[in-house]
């Protein structure tokens, strides 16, 4: 507790404090919500992540004005980079959005919730167990949720597959329709190059019980990251079947592809 207070003093700026206090977030009397989000720890997380966002990855954002200031929202993006850095960068960008800051929720793999310190810390920063029940209840709570429908197919893809969207899970579209939630497509450019991975060690991953074991750089490279938020997309039911859902998902993928293409054409190399 004392360490947290000390860190807060040096890491959380007045501006961060003011931004987080503006975020409409229903929390209980001790600053927690049912999923473990804690507003004070969230401020600390933002303060600690700020140098990475501003100086290390020099993130450039476009289309933040497309984010509604309140109400349920699904933010659907392309996933890459071996580590979930893209999720953290999108989360930071939305939390510090000058138009309307929002504390977005990221869905995390089940394995994280079993790990000491990691699970609790991620929960306090707003990440939650990737469970459909959680998603439904959070949307009904008017939360904004980041979903990477490619899952580990996207984050763990090798260098040869960079900027090629992998198969999208269809679950987010079912949620968007049944919970009447707008979708914001997001194209992320730059994270693919943070940890270039020529191949994976499949046997080692199996032995360690982890999704993949990439042969890559020991730390993420300081590439410049560009995040493009598209305009809200609204899908209505009824759901006529999985083929129908897949067609709707393709429309979202097309939007994300277009945003990625825009980012790739606007950049001048990995680091600029």
């Amino acid at each position: 507790m004392a360490l947290r207070d000390l860190l807060k003093k040096y890491v959380v700026s007045e501006k961060t404090n003011e931004i987080v206090n503006r975020i409409p977030k229903p929390v209980g009397s001790f600053g927690y919500d049912p999923w473990g989000y804690n507003s004070e720890t969230f401020k600390l997380g933002l303060g600690l992540f700020r140098p990475f966002f501003e100086r290390y990855f020099r993130v450039e954002t476009h289309g933040l004005e497309n984010i509604p200031p309140e109400g349920r929202l699904l933010i659907i993006g392309n996933h890459s980079g071996q580590l979930p850095i893209d999720g953290a960068l999108v989360g930071y960008a939305l939390a510090t959005n000058p138009h309307a800051p929002r504390a977005v929720r990221a869905m995390i793999e089940r394995v994280f919730t079993t790990l000491p310190y990691v699970g609790n810390m991620l929960n306090k920063w707003g990440a939650v167990l990737g469970d459909p029940e959680n998603c439904v209840k959070m949307l009904r709570n008017d939360e904004a949720i980041i979903v990477f429908p490619e899952g580990i197919r996207g984050s763990g893809k090798p260098w040869s597959e960079r900027y090629k969207l992998q198969r999208f899970g269809l679950g987010f579209m079912h949620l968007a329709i049944t919970e009447r939630t707008p979708i914001i497509p997001v194209g992320i450019v730059g994270c693919e190059e943070t940890m270039p991975t020529p191949f994976h060690l499949k046997t080692l991953a199996k032995l360690l019980g982890i999704p993949y074991a990439p042969v890559t750089t020991p730390v993420p490279l300081p590439t410049k990251v560009r995040i493009y938020f598209g305009k809200p997309m609204v899908f209505e039911g009824p759901i006529l079947g999985e083929d129908d859902t897949a067609v709707k998902v393709e429309r979202v993928k097309d939007e994300i592809r277009a945003l990625i293409q825009r980012g790739l054409s606007e950049r001048d190399g990995w680091f600029q």
Binding site: F30, P34, G36, L115, P116, L129, D131, E133
Partner: protein, 348 residues
């Protein structure tokens, strides 16, 4: 003979006090003294929660109190028995009194006795109670369950609704009786709608007089806390829980309901707020904290409840809230202040 009638028990008065339980929708509020009042059996009458329920109901109902541990002190006009539910003598209570409704709070806590004895008391005892309710035409039964039935798992979503699977028995034999008691009550709920069974699954009940595992933990000066884990928790003040039971009893809308306040706190924060000093206990390898727990032998920290100090079990109490109009009056701060102040005064 298994029954003992307490000195204050006015049997003659109660034999003549035959009331009629109205249809679902509620017993009459404010029945005047002197009127024939419905007779209500309260089990587990010696507990702190039951005592509060009794004090809320005693003016409007004729209460028949039962506890298998001890004879409960009573006010005039009540009857009190010490009897085990699965003994033959238990039926004599139903013969002597025209029991209209039962509030079944008499569960053995998870740290009490062996799991076999608890199974006998909680499951077989409850079966006997429900069978007697059927035999003697009882019109309403409120059963107190526990949130433990959901089981603490890293894969639990937050805000568990009443339909969530009951996974506690996957964890340990020691919680089988809690799940079985629920299953049994559910079977009777659907098979015998005339019993009007309401099952309440409260979150952690805390406050004055409460002796469950978590309350014992919060009462300690030093409390074990698993390194790297501080699950979200909910608490409900014992007085609010008593109000919830009375609401469920008087409104009589049969079904299964979570009872929880819309407020949440991390376990470590709760410990600190209660004036406890968390003592770090290694959480890995998984067997190590279990061994430590067994070696310590604390009622507050039994090995089979360790998962509840590791992973969250957060209830969605909205159904109970909307059905019964329930709103807790005491905050988390009020609950924690009780433990903190008692410690400062040197009482705990």
């Amino acid at each position: 003979m298994d029954i003992r009638i307490s000195e204050g028990g006015d049997m003659q008065h109660m034999d003549s006090a035959v009331g009629v339980l109205p249809e679902a929708g509620g017993l009459p509020a404010g029945v005047r003294v002197g009127e024939k009042r419905p007779q209500v059996l309260v089990t587990g009458a010696g507990g702190a929660l039951a005592q509060m329920v009794i004090s809320l109901l005693k003016d409007r109902y004729q209460l028949v109190l039962v506890d298998f541990r001890r004879r409960v002190r009573i006010d005039e006009g009540m009857a009190s028995y010490q009897v085990e539910y699965n003994k033959r003598g238990f039926e004599d209570i139903f013969r002597r009194h025209k029991i209209e409704a039962v509030i079944h709070l008499g569960r053995m806590g998870v740290y009490e006795s062996t799991h076999r004895y608890r199974y006998n008391q909680n499951v077989l005892g409850t079966k006997r109670l429900l069978d007697l309710c059927l035999k003697y035409g009882v019109h309403q039964v409120v059963v107190l369950s526990t949130y433990f039935v959901y089981g603490a798992s890293p894969y639990n979503p937050a805000l568990l609704s009443e339909e969530a699977p009951l996974k506690a028995s996957e964890l340990t034999m020691d919680l089988v009786d809690s799940v079985e008691l629920e299953n049994l009550a559910s079977i009777y709920l659907w098979k015998h709608p005339e019993l009007n069974i309401t099952i309440l699954r409260p979150t952690n009940i805390a406050g004055p007089g409460v002796l469950n595992s978590l309350s014992l933990m919060l009462s300690r000066k030093f409390a074990p806390a698993l390194l790297g884990f501080s699950p979200m928790m909910q608490f409900i003040h014992v007085e609010d829980m008593a109000d919830a039971i009375v609401l469920a009893f008087e409104k009589n809308v049969p079904g299964i309901y979570n009872v929880a306040a819309n407020d949440w706190v991390a376990f470590r924060e709760a410990l600190v707020q209660c004036g406890c000093t968390p003592v770090p206990v290694p959480s890995v390898p998984e067997n190590l904290p279990r061994r430590i727990s067994r070696a310590l032998g604390w009622k507050a920290w039994p090995a089979y409840l360790l998962n509840y100090y590791k992973y969250p079990v957060i209830l969605d109490g909205s159904l109970f809230k909307s059905t019964f109009g329930f709103k807790p009056k005491r905050s988390l701060a009020d609950i924690f202040a009780h433990y903190r102040e008692k410690k400062e005064m040197g009482i705990l």
